[in-house]
């Protein structure tokens, strides 16, 4: 993610002569996720929670999620969007109840971005997955510049992650199908009085 820093700065240098020039970083987060973590099998012994991306090498413990840092305009974002899609297949013999929630947190919230302290749940979805069926948990978040959730974005960066809860008895296979962020900023927003 460090690359966002240089990219936005480079963009400022290139052509941010205009207040209306919007600098957009369209980040394919999924491409940075280790391939071994993109998909896997889970035993669902009644109830289980998993957290992606996995920051502490333990999928089932809440953690700091994905840190996005060092972009110079992070504290002046004029727009933010995120999309996460997780494909879940029920390999068991009974129905599974599956839900997902997208969390946005302050950069300092390194221990747990899912506990409601210094973080916000911005979107959630749930579905019932019959035995043998495959469905996709899809979360889309879009914040405009007036959204108070953007206060979590600071010059130090921010964190994102998705908590998935499954209940039932059996086996499930998951695959992260999409995880992308879109950050929008305008260099002139750094001017005093704006």
């Amino acid at each position: 993610m460090k690359r966002i820093t240089a990219l936005l700065t480079l963009a400022v240098l290139l052509a941010a002569c205009s207040a209306r020039t919007v600098l957009v970083a369209d980040v394919d987060v999924l491409s940075f996720v280790d391939s071994s973590e993109v998909e896997g099998d889970l035993a669902v012994p009644g109830s289980i929670d998993v957290y992606v991306p996995d920051a502490d090498d333990n999928l089932i413990t809440p953690d700091g999620g994905q840190l996005v840092t060092q972009a110079p305009l992070l504290d002046r974002m004029s727009g933010f969007a995120a999309r996460i899609a997780v494909e879940v297949r029920n390999d068991g013999a009974t129905d599974l109840s599956v839900s997902g929630a997208f969390h946005l947190a302050a950069a300092s919230d390194s221990a747990n971005i899912y506990d409601g302290t210094d973080d916000l749940k911005l979107a959630e979805v749930e579905l019932t997955l019959p035995a043998g069926a495959t469905q996709t948990l899809e979360l889309n978040v879009e914040l405009d510049e007036d959204d108070p959730a953007l206060d979590l974005l600071s010059a130090d960066g921010f964190r994102v992650g998705m908590a998935i809860h499954a209940s039932g008895n059996g086996q499930a296979h998951y695959r992260i199908a999409a995880f992308s962020l879109v950050l929008k900023a305008r260099a002139f927003d750094l001017l005093p009085g704006n």
Binding site: K2, R3, I4, T5, A6, L7, L8, T9, L10, A11, L13, L14, A15, A16, C17, S18, A19, R20, T21, V22, L23, V24, A25, D26, V27, D28, S31, F32, R186, F188, D189, L191, G193, N194
Partner: protein, 442 residues
């Protein structure tokens, strides 16, 4: 570092305010007509009769309308309505209008609306808002650096000499140029292809130069005595122009970043190399010799002016270097000198032909200029019928320049209107503008 840049910015504003061009000339594609107004290019014109080809009026600073009201150009919205400023202001448009105050710019140059960086583990691609690869060449148009000779003075006051033909004048000059963004070949190539390459260092260099000071001129111009058997008339003029320089800022800022093995850009650093002379911190001085000749023969007039036939400029200032972290590495006294034979040449011709049957007059004109790195040329025509004037022309000054104009002369007054064009710095876009003037007819 900020003080020299602030003073340079102020100088640019003054340059814009004082560089108003004759609207009649704008309507003829930027053509310079014979007359005392052309003394800055050919000192022989100091002795020339202004009535032969006519003069221009007072150019109205129509650009102020844009600077006050147009959201993309006016910085006043920063105070008046910050949201309008945030959504519309464009520094490129502001700079272009500021340096062309004599015209109401119709289509100011514009920065891109959106720059999108697509980041993935496979690399980085850069596109505009429509998904096309970002074309940095669109923003790398250069303006030529200031020439070795002093420019025609912005403001000049002629002092009474008491001797016919002898001219004493004091004035001020401001020169700017060399503005542009220069990406290195790798950056141009890889942005065009849409993907930054691994282990590559990219550079983007911004440059600009501003010079200013006061001048004093001692010149002599006069018509030669009539030659037996020759109907024409020859004017000769020469002048020594000395200057005291108070401002010289020559800046090069290079941004650079190096990608890692995956094509990810590393930290961005800016390296600055600036030579500066500002009031209270250095000065410049120098002099140059200019010479000119004008031949009037029948309906035509032909001039040749050579500026800086011999000249010397010396600037005592400082050179400051900053490293990629923004720290000043050195700020040491340095002198910059240039001199010798570095002439700027200006040749022009005009021909005034009465049309048959009282159908009016036709004025044709052309000029060619050469200064190191900045050739120019103009062709223009004016049709005169009673009080009406219709004009058109084409010129080249860092890019093509179109002019269309009209004027009215009546009861000793004149008014002129012109549709003109110029090439915008950085973007190279052809910008159209409207100019107007009022004046006395003679």
């Amino acid at each position: 570092m900020k003080r020299p840049l602030r003073i340079a910015a102020l100088a640019l504003m003054l340059l814009g305010a004082a560089s108003a061009q004759d609207v009649r000339s704008l309507g003829m594609g930027g053509l310079t007509l014979p007359g005392p107004a052309a003394t800055g290019r050919n000192p022989a014109y100091a002795a020339y009769d202004a009535r032969r080809f006519g003069g221009g009026g007072f150019t109205l600073p129509l650009g102020l309308v844009n600077l006050a009201l147009r959201p993309s150009i006016s910085p006043l919205y920063y105070f008046r309505d910050p949201s309008v400023f945030r959504n519309h202001f464009d520094l490129l448009a502001f700079y272009d209008q500021l340096t062309h105050l004599d015209e109401f710019v119709i289509n100011p140059p514009a920065s891109p609306r959106e720059i999108v960086f697509h980041v993935s583990a496979d690399g980085v691609t850069v596109t505009d808002g429509d998904g096309n690869p970002f074309d940095l060449n669109r923003f790398s148009a250069q303006t030529p650096p200031p020439s070795g000779s002093l420019p025609p003075p912005l403001l000049e006051l002629n002092l009474p000499s008491g001797v016919p033909g002898l001219r004493l004048a004091v004035g001020a000059f401001l020169q700017s140029g060399g503005f542009g963004l220069t990406p290195d070949d790798a950056l141009v190539r890889d942005l065009a292809s849409g993907s930054l390459q691994p282990n590559t260092t990219y550079h983007l260099t911004a440059t600009g130069t501003v010079k200013g000071g006061i001048t004093s001129t001692l010149g002599y111009a006069a018509p030669l005595p009539a030659l037996p058997g020759f109907d024409g008339r020859v004017y000769l003029g020469g002048q020594i122009q000395a200057f005291y320089g108070m401002l010289y800022v020559d800046t090069t800022v290079t941004g650079q970043t190096t990608t890692d093995g995956s094509g990810n850009p590393g930290p961005l650093g800016y390296v600055t190399d600036m030579f500066y002379v500002v009031p209270g911190n250095g000065q410049g001085y120098g002099a140059q010799l200019d010479f000119g000749v004008v031949l009037d023969y029948e309906a035509g007039s032909y001039g040749l002016g050579v500026k800086n036939l011999v000249g010397l400029q010396r600037w005592n200032g400082h050179r400051m270097l900053t490293d990629a972290s923004g720290s000043v590495v050195s700020d040491t006294a340095q002198n910059v000198s240039e001199g010798g034979f570095r002439p700027s040449i200006f040749a022009n011709a005009a021909y005034l032909q009465p049309l048959e049957g009282a159908a009016g007059d036709l004025l044709l004109g052309a000029d060619l200029g050469y200064a190191p790195g900045a050739p120019s040329g103009h062709l223009g025509v004016e049709y005169r019928l009673a009080a009406l004037r219709l004009r058109g022309g084409l010129g080249y000054e860092q890019g093509f320049k179109l002019g269309l104009g009209a004027g009215l002369e009546f009861s000793g007054l004149r008014t002129d209107l012109a549709l003109t064009s110029h090439t915008a710095p950085f973007t190279g876009q052809v910008v159209y503008g409207v100019a107007a003037s009022l004046g006395l007819a003679f």
